[in-house]
């Protein structure tokens, strides 16, 4: 756009310079033509003046030896003036034929002046004097004839030149008028073009913003805008997408919060009667003389009640999390304890040492890990959730690697497993409440985990390992 603005300015400048040059050029042409006309009129004036000069000299010649004869000084001055006037003709621009005529004219003038001098200096008999005088007069008349011939030759050209000059002046005047009246339109036209060029894009962007403000989050700029405005439009569309996503998330979060509150209230109200029912069922199972099949039915009822209690407990934990009781702690110690608990959960309830799955827990703890400020119980719950998830993801056997390392301002904990991994489509949803891929899962475990991590100003992320399984990465801020 800067280039276009610069180009526009250059175009305007060039137009102004070109206009100025043309106006100056036209003015110069007009002045030149006027000078030509003046020069051509001067030629006419010169011709008349020269003819007058020659006629004066001719009259001097005729008056010589008469009572009205002029003195020699006056005569000499007249001849000099005539010669000087005739010399001006040499400055005229003539074609070769005109130049030849001018040459003949000058020869005639030269011959005439010599004869004039002779008439004034010669002393002879009357006959010779008369003859000399007559010859000189005739020479003078010839000079006049030559001037007239030159004039006849030049007159048509001069008239044509004057007409041409007048036409040129008229054309220049028309062009100047045209420039005068069209220039503002051209300038305004260009200005309008440039303004329109840029304001239309701005108007489109402003319109889109207003539509967005009015709540139309689905509105996108589909027009092809010019230059950087196209990038701005793309950014606007991205912003609109982002706003829409965030709005949807917020709405969902609000809905979940409301649902959570209702569920928590309901759970709280259901929890106590459910405990009474469970105890009553257990008493009935133990006290009544029932067949073994009937007792197993009671036992299944109690197991289902236990599952409902667990669900209620997690629901309460998610909806009304308890505030963390933070202390300075070593993450490695918490992890050790949690790993032991996880290993313990793998043992069969029958009491022998044979575990349910053959899982190898690998500790890759960084030495001198900085301490963090956290609630140890909540942190243990976080790690246990992730370890149980890992155990669930592994089949009969596998490896769970727990790695810690110190980063700038953070302690990073990575829990990787060699399990089946998570479907890529579900990766972005696994922290969403009630989302689960397990047949008996509540879908709240990882949601609670993320909430607890975020309560500690930390972050949690998940990726599928290239070689299989998933890796959860937790970052907790170190103690400042």
């Amino acid at each position: 756009m800067k280039k276009k603005i610069l180009a526009g300015l250059i175009v305007l400048t060039v137009l102004m310079i070109a206009g100025g040059y043309n106006i100056t050029h036209l003015n110069n042409n007009v002045i030149t033509e006027l000078q030509n006309i003046i020069s051509l009129h001067e030629v006419e004036h010169l011709r008349k003046n020269l003819l007058n000069q020659i006629k004066i000299v001719q009259s001097d010649l005729l008056l010589k030896d008469s009572p009205h004869a002029r003195d020699v000084d006056t005569f000499v001055l007249h001849v000099e003036e005539m010669t000087r006037t005739s010399a001006i003709c040499s400055t005229c621009h003539l074609d070769p034929k005109g130049k030849a005529m001018l040459h003949d004219f000058y020869s005639g003038v030269d011959r005439y002046t010599k004869q004039l001098s002779r008439v004034y200096t010669i002393r002879a008999n009357e006959e010779r004097l008369t003859q000399e005088k007559e010859q000189t007069f005739q020479t003078g008349q010839k000079v006049i004839d030559e001037i007239n011939n030159l004039v006849v030759r030049l007159d048509s050209k001069i008239a044509a030149k004057i007409t041409q000059a007048s036409t040129n002046i008229s054309q220049a005047k028309q062009l100047l008028t045209l420039f005068l009246y069209t220039s503002p339109f051209v300038v305004f036209g260009l200005a309008f073009f440039f303004l329109r060029h840029y304001t239309s894009s701005v108007a489109t962007l402003i319109g889109a913003t207003r539509r967005l403000k009015e709540g139309n989050l689905d509105y996108r700029i589909d027009n092809d805008l010019r230059d950087e405005f196209q990038e701005l439009a793309a950014s606007f569309n991205e912003m609109a997408d982002s706003i829409k996503d965030n709005c949807e998330k917020m709405q969902q979060a609000e809905r979940l919060a409301v649902a959570g509150e209702i569920s928590a209230g309901l759970a709280h109200e259901v929890k106590n009667p459910l405990a009474g029912i469970k105890v009553s069922i257990d008493v009935l199972r133990n006290e009544l003389p029932l067949a073994q099949e009937d007792k197993e039915i009671f036992l299944r009822i109690i197991n289902e009640i236990n599952r409902i209690e667990l669900l209620l407990k997690e629901l309460l934990s998610y909806a009304r999390p308890s505030p963390p009781q933070t202390i300075s702690l070593d993450v490695g110690n918490v992890l050790d304890t949690t790993i032991k608990n996880a290993q313990y959960s793998l043992k069969k309830p029958t009491g022998n040492d044979q575990p349910i799955k053959n899982i190898d827990f690998v500790r890759e703890f960084a030495p001198d890990l900085p301490r963090v400020v956290a609630d140890p119980a909540q942190l243990q719950q976080v790690f246990l959730n992730l370890l149980i998830n890992a155990i669930d993801g592994i089949g009969e056997s596998g490896t769970i690697t727990i790695r810690t390392e110190a980063l700038a301002g953070f302690v990073q904990i990575v829990i990787s497993d060699t399990g089946t991994g998570i479907n890529p489509e579900n990766l972005s949803k696994i922290f969403t409440p009630f989302f689960t891929t397990k047949s008996k899962g509540t879908g709240l475990g990882l949601s609670i985990t993320r909430r607890l991590v975020e309560q500690h100003d930390g972050t949690i992320g998940v990726v599928n390992n290239p070689e299989g399984g998933v890796s959860f990465t937790i970052r907790l801020p170190v103690l400042a």
Partner: protein
């Protein structure tokens, strides 16, 4: 911002308003400068018609302008239609000086006591000239006997080459008064150049003129040397010299003489001399006219009573 723009606009407007006035002031200043000119003394110098009046004046004008500028004197050239006019003009005090011919110079010295100061020296080193009598080669005229009944073009009765010498020539040939009966027609052309051209163009059969004009004309018209034949030549006499009237202060005479003599040392002066056809100016005194006085005496003319009017 707006205030600054207004100030700037105001300054621009003032500048463009003042601009024409500045130009006008410059013109007024120039006018004032051109008005201040010191008044220079003015003298009039006469010029004889060696060649046609206008060519003669044109030839001498640059020389006179140079001297005028160097001496701080306004010198005006006055071309004369007759050699004898120069004496008349001196008598009527219309002239303060003149480029005299040898005979008019001798006349003026004797009659009016003019003071000669300088004369040109030609490129060949001479500062004199001589008279010549000439005819067309195809005229068949070879001697005085052949001249009988022919037309003679004299220059002027106040010239050495154009009158005194041919008169002396006829006298020595036993014809003391050729213009009355011996020749068919005698007339005075008034200029040496016309005397030469008249013979060349057949308007006269015999002519007399000075060699300097003859050969200068030959430079532009080859017919002069190709078609004319010189039958007699006079002794050498001093070339046309500048002389001042007795009333001109000696200081001014000396100043002008110094400028003329110094021309050959000045580049501008040398260029003018070249154009004039001379190598330099040399000092001239009354003594340089002795050959003319002797010649006049030999012809039998009394300068004090000589009638120089052409009849």
């Amino acid at each position: 911002m707006i205030t600054r723009l207004l100030k700037l606009s105001f300054l621009c407007a003032v500048f463009f308003l003042i601009l024409p006035l500045l130009s006008g002031c410059d013109d007024q200043q120039k006018e004032k400068e051109t008005r201040v000119e010191p008044a220079a003394p003015r003298i009039v110098i006469g010029l004889l018609p060696e060649q046609d009046l206008f060519s003669q004046k044109k030839r001498y004008q640059p020389l006179v302008d140079y001297v005028s500028r160097k001496a701080g004197v306004t010198i005006e050239l006055k071309i004369l239609s007759r050699y004898g006019n120069i004496i008349d003009n001196f008598i009527s005090e219309k002239l303060d000086g003149a480029f005299f011919g040898s005979f008019t110079g001798a006349l003026a010295i004797k009659k009016m006591g003019v003071v000669p100061i300088a004369r040109p020296e030609w490129p060949d080193g001479t500062s004199t000239y001589y008279g010549m009598i000439f005819v067309r080669k195809d005229s068949g005229i070879k001697n005085v006997a052949d001249m009988k009944g022919k037309r003679f073009a004299w220059v002027d009765k106040a010239t050495t080459a154009g009158w005194l010498f041919p008169l002396h020539f006829f006298k020595t040939q036993g014809i003391p008064d050729p213009h009355t009966s011996y020749l068919k027609e005698c007339y005075f052309t008034g200029t040496h150049e016309d005397a030469i051209l008249d013979v060349l163009n057949g308007r006269a059969d015999i002519g007399a003129a000075k060699d300097t004009v003859f050969y200068r004309l030959a430079e532009t018209d080859k017919r002069v040397v190709d078609e004319l034949e010189i039958l007699a030549e006079s002794p050498r006499v001093p070339a046309n010299s500048l002389a001042f009237a007795a009333h001109i202060p000696s200081s001014l005479r000396n100043t002008v003489k110094k400028i003329l003599l110094g021309m050959s040392d000045d580049p501008e002066g040398r260029a003018l001399l070249l154009e004039f056809g001379a190598r330099r100016f040399i000092e001239t005194t009354e003594g340089d006219y002795d050959p003319v006085f002797e010649y006049v005496e030999h012809v039998g003319i009394d300068l004090n009573s000589y009638d120089y009017i052409n009849n």
